[in-house]
């Protein structure tokens, strides 16, 4: 139960046998499936449908159960992500500082709607509900980078 799982980037896990050995390390941990899905999603940016039979086998549950867990959580994706993700906070504290207008401006800047991606697959705009930066909103997250007091100009993809 207290078994520590390595958090390295080792193993790309796309090959079923590699995937099997990587996932096995999560099985005995409490919340193992969540740890495993978080790890896959973090490593690859998504969870490929072709991995689901292996995941189900490792955790000894049905494929439907695995899909059920994946579909419940906003973070888990079944499609590869765009090169960059711009998450725009849509919650109240940011609304009070113009997040609705900011969202429109960012949509215009990149030419994609919230929840969609640009045709060249470079940028995906995503809604997020609170980054905990509510005192210095509106807040945006570009890939890993947090941005307070965000304006359309302060959103650049080179900040990675």
């Amino acid at each position: 139960m207290q078994k520590k799982v390595r958090q390295s980037n080792a193993g790309r896990g796309t090959n079923p046998s590699d995937l099997l050995s990587e996932l096995t390390s999560f099985v005995d941990r409490v919340g193992g499936l969540m740890h495993a899905l978080n790890w896959l999603n973090g490593e690859h940016g998504y969870i490929d449908s072709s991995w689901i039979p292996t995941i189900a086998e490792v955790f000894n549950i049905s494929q439907a159960e695995v899909r059920g867990v994946i579909s419940f959580y906003h973070d888990f994706k079944l499609e590869p992500p765009a090169a960059h993700t711009v998450k725009i906070c849509q919650a109240e504290a940011c609304q009070s500082l113009g997040a609705r207008q900011l969202t429109k401006d960012i949509e215009a800047k990149f030419g994609a709607k919230l929840g969609e991606r640009t045709s060249d697959n470079q940028v995906e705009l995503e809604a997020i509900y609170c980054l905990g930066l509510c005192a210095v909103g509106p807040s945006v997250q570009v890939d890993e980078k947090l941005i307070a007091r965000a304006t359309p100009d302060s959103i650049s993809l080179s900040t990675k």
Binding site: M1, Q2, R29, V30, G31, G32, L33, M34, H35, L37, N38, N41, F59, G68, V69, F72, Y73, H74, D75, F76, A91, E92, A93, C94, Q95, S96, L97, R100, I128, Y129, C130, L131, G132, L133, C134, A135, V136, G137, S139, E144, L146, I147, A148, R149
Partner: protein, 509 residues
């Protein structure tokens, strides 16, 4: 002399990483500290003398200012021969700022003052581990601590229930799924003083007989994860966690699970399902988690601030703790001031300040400079207050009297450009997005409510639609198992009742 830079999510979002990098390129390696919670002044750079006293401070530091600060730092360092009476030294503006000096910090006493990963003294914990666990629970009862996550349930009842329920395994679960907009105290504590949380979890484990703890942290808080990962590793190395906690006979472990972007997992039964690796769907209570929680074992579920309040209670003594606050709202509460506010951040005070005091005395009015129209208290399921309610004291009781709740202590300020119909619509929309889907009124009612409010292209809704919405609210409130559906009517109704002018136009009335 050393140069210190604030490092937490606020500071990073305000540009501290670039500033830190600029210092490094100028040959100065800054040390990192947490944030004091004066968010609008981030990032903060401090120059400390050999006695760790702040001799100079710079706020809102931009990369362009770095060369100037480096030159200043070097000249100060050259002058400094243990002599703290330096020329040109400016006082610290944050530590003497009324925003901070008027506070009463018990949970956040170390955050932003001593670096988050400096191992603090565990004398108190050592002492508590020699006491009778029942005495500790009695102390919790005396303190009057009520859960800080939102429900305000007396903590000791849960502690006693877990302690009194026979089982071969009991658990402590820290709910760090702080998803309410306008709240960030859990995040700040985990980033600014992670050992306070760890200590609180160990004390609660010892008192209730639980030997395994879990922290369920939301994925939107990667900086908190960074700090907790390091703090947990240090705690194991220091013998604070593991088979013999501080060389006692008590064994306690903590593992951490990162969530995956589901707001509903802040609800305790949903959180426990997710912690078991399942869909975060809520469960019927009873049985309460204190009797049958994680894997059907007795489980103490508390939010971060509840657990982090525990060391402070025994530090000053449960009786003294109970003296703080008003009536049955005892102790201190880390309020969080946010939204359209000039001076937003963390304000820890004994219960009882009025909304006015926080938004004007501490917050100094709106960032936009326009008048304040409403304040939403207690997150997305909290009430919108009208100006006439701003003189209400922030206690559980006084808030309940006006149909509001303190929730997790967040206050979101809106200026007079806010449209409450839009906000009511958003309340339904948020419920639609985040509903776990178990209860029909929440799953379907939220969509129907949003549609009803949106069905007119104009900015107006007719009186009949409002009757439909009130019906929906009643069904959601009475027939949802948890507070997601049950409390969504609170922001909706408060918006309609207190700001009717935003809902009914002159033509339709």
């Amino acid at each position: 002399m050393k140069l210190q830079i604030s490092d937490d999510s606020f500071a990073r979002a305000m540009g501290s990483e670039n500033v830190e990098f600029a210092f490094k390129t100028h040959g100065v390696e800054p040390t990192r500290n947490g944030s004091l919670g004066l968010a609008w002044l981030e990032p903060v750079v401090q120059l400390l003398n050999g006695d760790q006293e702040i001799v100079s401070e710079f706020t809102n530091v931009a990369v362009e200012e770095v060369p100037k600060i480096v030159a200043y730092f070097q000249s100060m360092r050259d002058q400094d021969n243990g002599d703290t009476n330096l020329q040109d030294a400016t006082e610290s503006t944050t530590s003497t700022h009324p925003f901070l000096t008027q506070q009463h910090r018990l949970v956040f006493d170390r955050a932003g003052i001593r670096p988050p990963l400096d191992l603090p003294s565990f004398k108190l914990l050592e002492d508590l581990l020699t006491q009778d666990p029942n005495q500790i629970i009695a102390g919790m009862e005396t303190s009057g601590l009520r859960g800080r996550g939102g429900a305000g349930f007396p903590a000791f009842i849960k502690w006693r229930t877990v302690a009194d329920t026979p089982a071969d395994q009991k658990y402590i679960v820290c709910n760090a799924d702080e998803g309410d907009s306008g709240t960030f105290s859990d995040r700040m504590l985990m980033e600014g003083d992670p050992f306070k949380l760890i200590e609180g979890m160990i004390i609660s484990g010892f008192a209730t007989g639980a030997t395994q703890g879990f922290i369920y942290l939301r994925s939107e808080y990667p900086v908190a994860k960074e700090y907790l990962d390091q703090a947990l590793e240090m705690a194991y190395s220091a013998g604070l966690l593991g088979k013999t906690v501080l060389n006692s006979n008590f064994s306690f472990d903590i593992d951490m699970l990162i969530g995956a972007g589901a707001y509903i997992c802040g609800e305790e039964t949903s959180l426990l399902e997710s912690l078991e690796g399942k869909r975060g769907q809520i469960k019927v209570k009873p049985p309460v988690p204190a009797i049958a929680g994680l894997f059907e074992k007795p489980t103490l579920v508390h939010n971060v601030i509840s657990l982090a309040s525990v060391p402070g209670i025994f530090e000053i003594g449960p009786e003294s703790y109970a003296q703080l606050g008003v009536g049955r709202s005892t102790g201190t509460m880390p309020f969080q001031l946010s939204g359209n506010i000039k001076q937003g951040g963390l304000i820890e005070l004994p219960f009882g300040p009025t909304v006015n005091e926080l938004i004007y005395n501490y917050g100094n009015g709106t960032l936009s400079g326009r008048p304040i129209r409403t304040v939403q208290i207690g997150g997305p399921l909290g009430a919108y207050l009208s100006e006439s309610e701003f003189d209400t004291p922030l206690t559980y009781e006084a808030m309940a009297e006006i149909g509001a709740g303190i929730g997790h202590g967040g206050l979101v300020v809106f200026d007079d450009t806010v449209n409450l119909k839009e906000q009511a619509e958003y309340a339904f929309e948020f419920c639609e997005i985040e509903s776990c889907g178990k209860c029909t009124p929440c799953r379907i009612g939220s969509i129907r409510g949003k549609e009803a409010l949106r069905q007119f292209n104009s900015n107006t809704v007719d009186a009949r639609t409002l009757v439909v919405i009130e019906d929906l609210c009643e069904v959601m409130e009475k027939a949802s198992l948890c507070q997601m559906g049950g409390m969504t009517p609170i922001p909706v109704r408060s918006a309609i009742q207190k700001f009717p002018e935003d809902f009914i136009s002159e033509q339709t009335t």
